[in-house]
Amino acid sequence: MSLHWKSRFIWSLCLPLLASSRSGYFETFDEELTVRALGDGKVASRFSFSTLLAGATPRNPQNLSVEDESQHYTLFPLALGQILREYAVTELHLTLNAGNWDYQRWGYPDEPDVGTGAQLWAWMGEGASTSVDARWRGLRNALAGLFCASLGALDEQLTTSPALAFAPQGALPAWSQPHAVRHAALAAEHVCTENLTPFLKLLPCKARAGIAQLLNPHRLFDADWHGMGLHVEWLPDTGVQVRLTFQSVTNPLRASSNRRDWSFSSTFDRTIDRKCPSASSSRILVTDPMNDGYRLTPTPWTYEGQQLTWTLDDPSLVGGNAVFDLIKQDVPLDVSMRWAVEFAHAARPPEAALSIQRSLHGASQAHGTVAVAIANAGPDTVRAAYLETMPWIVTFYLHTLELRVDGVLRPDLLQSLHYTPPVPHARATTLEAVLLLPPRSTLHLRVEVTKAFLRYTEHPPDAQRGWDLPPAVLVPLPFANSSALTANSTSVPSNANDVRSARRLYTRALLVDPATPDFSMPYNVVIFTCSVVAFVFGSVFNLLARRFAVVHAPVRGT
């Protein structure tokens, strides 16, 4: 009898294993490279590697205490899958960028997250035995280990929950508990080869075959702008999608004075000479610059997008993309674009309708003013959310917030404001303002700030350099009742669907210089205090313990 019971117990232990044996999802891997000639002669390239785990759902955090099903992956990166399951992350976005994206010259980027430095944001379900914040901490550290980046420094002092600007891009499962967003940015993080190597290891073909062969660190990190990203989303009808992206802006004009010709071998110093056997699609898109004559070699496999004119003696097309299908095309493949005429430097109209500039004014180490200029070059009024996630060392004087257009105060342009004040040494500021940007004008937003006086141990190494403040974010919103802002920030905005398509604009990072102490101070203080104490003690003690006596001096000269 007892044996029988025991065997049943053993079976119950193994049940999760049994259940796992039918897990095993259909996985597909797609890779794509988009190359776009920019107006200022530079070339933007965007690599996108997406792995789909068809039919999979994110782990429900309420099951975190139960043993997880076994993870069997073919194309999906196991190291990442483990992190996602361990911390029950529904949606995750990590970007590591270097440089400032120039919206005016380069237009909107293909991947919207271009803020300088590291940025991590994740949507996680509540209701687990471990809190969202504990899992957020674990996620940060796990990703820091995976990508060799200082993401562990994205601590509670930098973490905010801006649900409006960082709405989920995929879908959130309808669990009984709501989801919460956590966001943190670290502008001072540098991106380099040590981050790219683990990034490449997550790809099925690494950098040994397919489009990823072009990811040559010597050239990528030499580019004018470069950044990598990891995006995990849940798409309810398809599954869990992991997308690894790499964007760069290279400058062919730098090598040859006025020729903006580019090719894989000149841009990346590599060509594609092997196909990735596990890729179900592998495409290279070259966006048509829609001006001037140019020649694209080899002949593209097909064209997509807008209508095209194509004659043999003048192979130029209008609109759309030239598509090279790596699965059908011959390798080695070295796509190149040659222009008929030399590049002429000239003033060009801005590529992006919106632009945002942010600066920190004031010479004092205690106070300053944040000035933001948001220009709307378009013909329509734009409704947009402006988000600041300041570390607590910079505190806004919210009553000094003023909006001006052409020097005239326009408080009516501020539709709503959501402000979470900072907690010194603990929590960052969140300021989310929904603004109306009038057409063909510039909105100036000013707010006075106070800079914190930091504790001795809170200063970073190289304290005199100052602190990097994360970029502010501007998100265009549709015209609607702004009910989302007044709602609890942890809940999903009701107009999430509309926000999803919005392009986020990032400002540059700022540098703030709080007052720094003399770092040899502690020992000086010790010595100084000791001297004073010794002096006072000696005087008092001498007065109390000295023996006074009258000395009769012989009086002379009388």
Partner: protein, 492 residues
């Protein structure tokens, strides 16, 4: 007239008549300074010292001498007279005497069939003709006086099977088993793009997981990699590529193969199916003489197992792993897993009724793991005590002390349970080892290790030296004055 000269006619007050200038009061003042200093020293000592709780060193040392002794009762069934069991007992004792290390911790007693029947964990030997047969805790063996030495040898290999201690992974209540299908270079063509891992695991490994569930829990994960280059070039031996025994030691290219998983601290056992690149087939393991060996698998001690599979030439360009290959690979993996976990194999001449493991094998494994854990736990505890004794700046907090105490308690419980339940003994030994290791690796013990006392004195000296020197000088002067006063009083 100089201004400091007192005018004539006035009398000076004698300073020694001032109340604080009397000898008694002055000495009282100096003495009170010293009293305060002396009283303050313990407080200063207390506030600046490191928290070092005393560890139960005597208990640790008394435990270190202890050794587990498992009682093993063997019932010789239907032996006509007691002489057979007595001579079997004698034969076993001889073997214990010749190799005491192997029989360490075992207390074998052969019982008469008419003896006590109340023992639960009783090994039974029943007479039977033909091939010896083992089942759960039973051995069917032709019992005759002539076969007794052979029976004793069989019992020895069942109770204390020989093992390779270097190969067996360290005990852990939970292992992570990472299966990886590695293509050396899928782009070179004819690669294996997938496998039916779930089916293979449930067929080959689930019975092992069930059989070992009293010892370990397992987490299983798997991945497929398409580009996993070797760190060296295999040698070419007539129309095939070969891995020399030296190559096998550096086979795993941990820099390029992302095998490790970082989300948990459980020890990982890796099982790798390596598909050589199409340009390097067939890849074979060479023996010491440089001849291709018939085996296609090898084991890395305490790390995992590797199987090399050369797809046949008829294979389609890219394919799933063929089902017969999958099953042969996974039965190799299963064997490697058993070897890594230290599961003893049955002696060759015995036949087994059990599907995976017999009670004899499982008990031998439980006993050895419990012995190992107990020894490790005792050694670790001894090391903690020694370390704390040696390094005086090392803080010992309540958590370390608690872990050490609980570990000792677990050891105590292990010794009391040894005669009743093997599972409980193993459980307690593992618990003791976990706690002892946790205490040993407690990060709090490192806190002040590198903060030397000299730093403290460097801060205190400017304060204390300048205050203490006048105090000592005044006390010495006053002491001298008091002594001369005494002497003068004595003369008078």
């Amino acid at each position: 007239m100089p201004p400091h000269v007192h005018p004539k006619g006035t009398t000076l007050r004698d300073p020694s008549k001032l109340f604080y200038q009397t000898d008694y009061n002055r000495r009282l003042i100096i003495a009170s300074y010293w009293v305060i200093i002396v009283l303050a020293v313990p407080l200063w000592w207390y506030t600046t010292s490191i928290e070092r709780l005393s560890l139960p060193a005597s208990r640790v040392h008394s435990h270190a001498g202890n050794q587990l002794r498992f009682p093993v009762h063997i019932k010789l069934e239907s032996a006509q007279d007691a002489s057979l069991s007595i001579s079997l007992q004698q034969l076993i004792l001889d073997r214990v005497r010749t190799s005491p290390q192997a029989w360490k911790g075992l207390d074998v007693k052969v019982r008469n069939p008419h003896g006590v029947e109340d023992l639960a964990d009783l090994y039974t030997i029943t007479p039977g003709d033909g091939v010896p047969l083992v089942s759960q805790r039973q051995l069917t063996y032709p019992i005759r006086s002539a076969t007794l030495p052979m029976l004793a040898d069989t019992l020895a290999s069942l109770l204390v099977p020989p093992t390779d201690a270097h190969r067996v992974a360290q005990y852990s209540p939970r292992y992570r088993l990472a299966f990886t299908l590695l293509n050396e270079d899928a782009a070179a063509g004819k690669a294996i793009l997938g496998w039916d891992i779930s089916g293979a695991i449930s067929r080959h490994l689930l019975p092992i997981f069930n059989a070992l569930s009293v010892l370990h829990n397992f987490t299983v994960e798997s991945q497929v990699q398409f580009h996993a280059p070797l760190a060296f070039s295999p040698t070419t031996v007539d129309n095939c590529y070969g891995l020399t025994p030296e190559d096998l030691t550096v086979f795993v290219n941990s820099a390029e193969w992302s095998l490790s998983s970082s989300v948990s601290n459980d020890p990982v056992l890796h099982f790798i199916l390596f598909i050589p690149s199409a340009s390097r087939r067939p890849l074979q393991i060479l023996d010491a003489n440089g001849r291709p060996s018939p085996s296609d698998a090898f084991l890395l001690p305490q790390w995992g197992g590797i199987v090399i599979y050369n797809p046949s030439a008829e294979l389609q360009s890219h394919a799933q792993l063929p089902s017969p290959v999958l099953h042969s690979v996974f039965s190799t993996f299963a064997g490697q897993l058993l070897a890594l976990l230290g599961v003893p194999s049955l002696p060759l001449q015995l036949q087994s009724e059990a599907s995976v493991l017999t009670g004899w094998q499982l008990d031998a494994l439980l006993r050895r793991r419990a012995l190992e854990n107990a020894e490790n736990a005792q050694d670790t505890l001894k090391s903690i005590v020694k370390l704390v004794d040696q390094i005086e700046n090392m803080p010992v907090g309540q958590d370390v002390k608690g872990d050490v105490q609980h570990s000792l308690t677990a050891l105590d419980q292990m010794y009391t349970s040894v005669s009743t339940s093997l599972n409980e003994t193993l459980h307690q030994s593992a618990h003791a080892l976990t706690l002892a290791s946790r205490a040993f690796f407690n990060p709090g013990m490192l806190a002040l290790l590198y903060f030397p006392a000299e730093h403290k004195y460097a801060v205190y000296t400017p304060l204390f030296a300048s205050a203490l020197i006048p105090l000592i000088a005044a006390a010495a002067r006053e002491f001298r004055a008091w002594r001369s006063q005494r002497r003068e009083a004595g003369i008078q």
